[in-house]
Structure formats: structure tokens, C-alpha cells
């Protein structure tokens, strides 16, 4: 699936961001993902308030040296992956 730009991603039930020894982790049933850099910036914004479009715009500003189209493509791919892992819902 490709996320729609106006959808608002939100962490799925049973998934939450946490911190362990200064390392941010996404905790979910029977697994955990260590998050750094862009992946952390994306997940922090998956709060049901930001649209996909806003997240893309935010990260394009944050990573202004990267090519904007590539940033968008990477974000959409990462959101789709989290969705398929059932870590994310689109509202």
C-alpha cells in the first residue's frame, strides 16, 4: 500500500515509543525497533495529529541537504512498512 498524503498516521494499539539507555525504541507486541535519525523523526510525528504531507514537509526541512523527492519516497516507504508490520494505523 502507498499512504495517502492527507491521512494521519498514528501508532497502532500496543505500540509506543520508549527510551532505554538514551536509545529511543518503538515497543510493540513481541518486538522492538531501535530508532535513530530520520526513522525516529518520522515515528515521533505519527501521533494522529500530523498528516503524511506535513511529516514529509517537516523532514524535507530537517534534511534539507537531501533531495526532496527522495525524502518523500523514503518516508512513504517507511510508513507503508510500519503499517504492514501493524505498528501504524492511518486515520
Amino acid at each position: 500500500m502507498t499512504p495517502e498524503l492527507h491521512a494521519k498516521p498514528r501508532l497502532a494499539p500496543g505500540c509506543r515509543l520508549s527510551e532505554q539507555n538514551q536509545q529511543r525504541v518503538l515497543l510493540m507486541p513481541e518486538r522492538a525497533l531501535r530508532l535513530n535519525g530520520p526513522s525516529l523523526s518520522i515515528v515521533e510525528r505519527c501521533d494522529g495529529a500530523h498528516t503524511v504531507q506535513e511529516i514529509v514537509a517537516d523532514l524535507q526541512r530537517l534534511y534539507s541537504k537531501a533531495e526532496p523527492q527522495k525524502v518523500e519516497k523514503d518516508i512513504l516507504g517507511y510508513l507503508a512498512l510500519l503499517h504492514d508490520e501493524r505498528a501504524l494505523d492511518f486515520e
Binding site: 494499539p13 500496543g14 520508549s18 515497543l27 507486541p29 513481541e30 504492514d84
Partner: protein, 375 residues
């Protein structure tokens, strides 16, 4: 050179061995912990704090039936206060709606509900449950759905319920959890005692994998479908527990710290107790955790095998249970000198099936050994 000691990721907390079910494939030991020896609420809170400080991320509250502990909400609060992600692994049997609300309010992150099949009689037949258990579990599922917590359905699958697999998937879709586990029985504890009735035929297995693969693809994005291939049919062993003393630490109801559910079957291993030493010391220094950690202990063919950092020689308990020696390669491995032992068990499971088919009679079956309850 000795590699650095890894940080465990998960603490399996066996809160009690008491249970309203008597599953024929229960992973608990045949000899269970007595109620009067169980750790106190304060003991568990201390263990969680020690686990959090070690870098453990998650805890699975299991048993027995963890709901048999009246202090479960307090235990959950203790685990959350220690920074852990808290899963409750339950039969759902003693659960009522209000108690679930208390557990969620205490900080429960995720609930895993077990079903013994997709039919009313499955819980009775395979779980030794009272009639009505199946309907109660369905009610529990509907209550869980009202809360914003993680929800997994768990089906243990085996020779005598694999014909219900498609119905289990349909039932899962109807309930709509975020995740479902189809776990082929692993042969330890009570399951080892009942192996001849639980081990599926090759034909059953292949069909089940096809059904599960289809379900996984079809439900992608809705329900995460996970399944485990039974290792008696595998070419290589499973990396049991992600490697001995690498990722998981299990604490029994009376406080013994173990590298896995089954480790008690290995003769001569001495387990230390969290009432006498810290979890950290036990993890790093105790004989039980050090004995099969890393590679030093390995013998051939594991020692020089390319895969020894992939599967860590497989499962020590299985090596002992099937080949009689916990140090040798897991006999399910096709490279193991003990593979013929597994082959003959598998041949029996398949031979019996074809006989049944040809002659139209069922083979003489042993009685189920139902899991008992501790004193």
C-alpha cells in the same frame, strides 16, 4: 577471546504454575512449583527493576495462568514503573470485564489470548477446560477490543486440530486482533509426553504451511500473521531462544532464573534464585547461563559449521531429550549425527497415517497426559 556478554531483551515472568486449563502441550515442567513457594509482589517488582536497569525492554507475564495471581495489577504497575513493555499471556479463563479494565489502567500494553482450536469442544479436548470455555474466550476477545492495547490471538496447532486451521483463520478475521500466532507444538514438557498424538504428518504440515502463507499475504496490513515451522521437519534447527543466554531470561514462580522454559530437564544444571542474587549477576555469572553461551562449549559438527552463529547449535534441551546429551548438535539438524533419531520419530508419524488411510482404521493411540496442577 571471550565475546562480551549480551544484554537480554526480554524477561519471561512465570508468575504461577496454577492454571484453569490442562493443555496436553503445556510447556511447563512435569513437576510444578507449589503455590506456597511463589515469589511475592515485592520480589517481582525488584526483579523488574533489576531487569530494566540491565536494558531489558519487554516482559511477558505468563504461567500457568497469570490471572491466578490476585496481585496481577500491582505486578503490572511494577513492571511499567521499571520501564518495561508488559504483555499478558493468558487463557482468558478467569478474566472478567472489570478486571481487564483494572489491568489496562495499571499499564498493560498487550494481551495474548490463547485458543485451543476454532470449535467449542477444542478447549475441552486439548485444554481439559470446563464446557463453556470457548464462549468465554470469545467474550474476553470482545472486551479486549474495547481497549487501545495490543492484541494477539494464539493458536497452538498440531496433528489433531490442523483440520480446523482455515476455521481458525476465519475466526481470527472475525475477531480482528493486530496479530495472530500459529505455533506448531514444540516437544518439551507435557508436549513431549504427548508427542505421538501431536506430531503432524508431512502432508498435514505442507498443507498447513500453504494455508498460513496465503493468510499472511492476504491479511498483510490488517493482521500480522506469524507462524512457527515444527522443527522435527526442518533441515536446520531453530536458533533456540535466539541463542542460550543471549536474549531471554526466564524466572520461575519460585524465583529460579533459567535460560528457557525447558532448561530444567537438563541434568546437572544448577539454577540460581532471584531471592538470593541479583538478576544481573545470575545472567552474567551463573553456571546455568554461562554453560552454553557463546561457542566455546560446542562440539562437531557445530564447532566448525558456518551456521553456528545463525542457529547456535539449535536447542540444548532437545539435544538432551532426543539424543541424550545436552552438548551435542540439535538432532533435528540434517548435519547432526543424531538426525536418524528424529527421522524415525517422523517416519512413525507418517507411517501411522498411511496405515490409517489404507486400512480405514485408526491406529491404537495412547491416552492424553493432561497437565496437572501444582499443590
Amino acid at each position: 577471546m571471550q565475546a562480551a556478554i549480551p544484554t537480554p531483551l526480554a524477561l519471561v515472568a512465570e508468575l504461577t504454575h496454577r492454571c484453569p486449563l490442562h493443555c496436553v502441550y503445556c510447556s511447563n515442567p512435569l513437576e510444578m512449583a507449589r503455590r506456597d513457594g511463589e515469589l511475592s509482589t515485592e520480589d517481582w517488582k525488584r526483579v523488574f527493576r533489576q531487569a530494566g536497569a540491565m536494558g531489558v525492554l519487554q516482559t511477558d507475564l505468563t504461567g500457568g495462568e497469570p490471572l491466578a495471581r490476585a496481585d496481577l495489577a500491582e505486578i503490572i504497575r511494577g513492571a511499567r514503573a521499571a520501564g518495561l513493555y508488559v504483555s499478558l499471556i493468558t487463557s482468558g479463563m478467569p478474566l472478567e470485564e472489570q478486571r481487564l479494565e483494572e489491568l489496562v489502567a495499571a499499564g498493560l500494553d498487550h494481551l495474548q489470548l490463547s485458543f485451543q482450536g476454532a470449535r467449542e469442544d477444542s478447549s475441552v479436548k486439548f485444554g481439559g477446560a470446563r464446557p463453556g470455555a470457548y464462549e468465554h474466550k470469545l467474550r474476553v476477545a470482545s472486551w479486549v477490543k474495547k481497549h487501545r492495547i495490543g492484541f494477539t490471538l494464539n493458536f497452538v496447532i498440531h496433528r489433531e486440530n490442523l483440520d480446523q486451521l482455515e476455521a481458525m483463520i476465519a475466526m481470527t478475521e472475525q475477531i480482528g486482533p493486530g496479530r495472530v500466532e500459529f505455533a506448531h507444538v514444540q516437544y518439551y514438557g507435557w508436549a513431549f509426553s504427548n508427542r505421538d498424538r501431536l506430531l503432524p504428518s508431512r502432508e498435514q504440515l505442507d498443507r498447513s504451511l500453504e494455508i498460513l502463507k496465503n493468510a499472511e499475504e492476504r491479511l498483510r496490513g490488517q493482521i500480522r500473521v506469524e507462524y512457527v515451522v515444527p522443527d522435527y521437519y526442518a533441515k536446520y534447527p531453530k536458533p533456540c531462544m535466539g541463542g542460550w543466554g543471549r536474549k531471554v531470561i526466564l524466572v520461575t514462580p519460585v524465583g529460579h532464573a533459567l535460560p528457557c522454559h525447558a532448561a530444567r530437564v537438563i541434568p546437572g544444571l544448577r539454577f540460581e534464585n532471584v531471592q538470593r542474587r541479583s538478576l544481573h549477576e545470575i545472567w552474567e555469572e551463573s553456571e546455568a547461563f554461562c554453560k552454553y553461551r557463546g561457542e566455546e562449549w560446542m562440539v562437531e559438527p557445530c564447532k566448525s559449521c558456518d551456521r553456528h552463529t545463525v542457529d547456535f547449535g539449535g536447542c540444548r534441551c532437545q539435544a538432551y531429550l532426543v539424543a541424550g546429551n545436552a552438548q551435542v548438535a540439535d538432532p533435528v539438524c540434517s548435519l547432526s549425527p543424531g538426525r536418524h533419531l528424529v527421522d524415525s520419530i517422523v517416519a512413525e508419524a507418517n507411517g501411522a497415517d498411511s496405515n490409517r488411510h489404507e486400512r480405514g482404521v485408526s491406529r491404537v493411540q495412547s491416552e492424553w497426559a493432561y497437565r496437572t496442577n501444582p499443590a
